[in-house]
Subunit: 141 residues, 2 copies
Amino acid sequence: MSISSQNADALAERLSHSGLRATPQREVVYNVLLKKRDHPTADEVFARVKSELPTISLATVYNCLETLVQCELVRAVNFERGPTRYCPNLRPHAHFHDEHTGKTHDIDLPADLLDKVSSVLPQGYDAKSVEIIFRGKTAPH
Amino acid sequence: MSISSQNADALAERLSHSGLRATPQREVVYNVLLKKRDHPTADEVFARVKSELPTISLATVYNCLETLVQCELVRAVNFERGPTRYCPNLRPHAHFHDEHTGKTHDIDLPADLLDKVSSVLPQGYDAKSVEIIFRGKTAPH
DNA sequence: GCGATAATTAGAACTATTCCAAACTTAGGC
DNA sequence: GCCTAAGTTTGGAATAGTTCTAATTATCGC
Ligand SMILES: [Mn+2]
Ligand SMILES: [Mn+2]
Ligand SMILES: [Zn+2]
Ligand SMILES: [Zn+2]
């Protein structure tokens, strides 16, 4: 069984679990995200998907991306008011936004860090998610 | 000397330091932020400022807010793709976004926490800023 | 295969923000 | 106290990213 059909199965499983259908558009969008994990925008996903599904529309790309986010197969990532970026990395991780290159890097987090960070919350605050964003520059080469 | 004129002086100082001028619009926008620290949007700031300067324009509110952010008297805060919110709290702090009420709460951070968080960065990553966002609900009353 | 339901599509609409060019204000130099 | 240059404000147009709409097409269970 190919990697891609494993992914397709995982996707179909998650989709049907939410009463949603597996479609070629959803599969291709998801595969595009898995193939090049550079946190593309919806426009960039659109461009990549087009080579396989030339008639897909931008609206469908937005629909598919939102579906994937809701199935928790993909995370939406925002920096300031820039276009939303999409990330298929499901491990707990932070994002480093390189202001020079514009590139976004995943920073894997030690198992206990998010708990440690959440422990600063006063009584009565119940966090469902924690997001950590670094902004700065990365060394060359 | 009133609190408000102390703020006005601090503002004038920061502005002239950057070769910028103190204007009534900038002062009123800054005072509005200091007076009610509920992370208002530009539109909300506009509405509040109007009662003191009825002829101010929305473009000017955006200009003033950007100026204040550049002088580092105010932080711009974003949640997903919602409108930018403005925060005059200069202590190191995280934001807690209550999904039920839509309200944003400041979470003061212990002195060492941001360093601890930054220490997860691999060699070669140089973070100029770290941002922490919690999302969830707060207990009633 | 058929009907019900879900998904896709193109384009219009929307929201928050930025851009623009003209008018106004302010700080200095005389 | 005026003049000029520079900075600022203003209303409206433009823009970017996303969401909405209504029509068409695909899929699923029977
Ligand atoms: Mn993130
Ligand atoms: Mn923040
Ligand atoms: Zn990521
Ligand atoms: Zn704040």
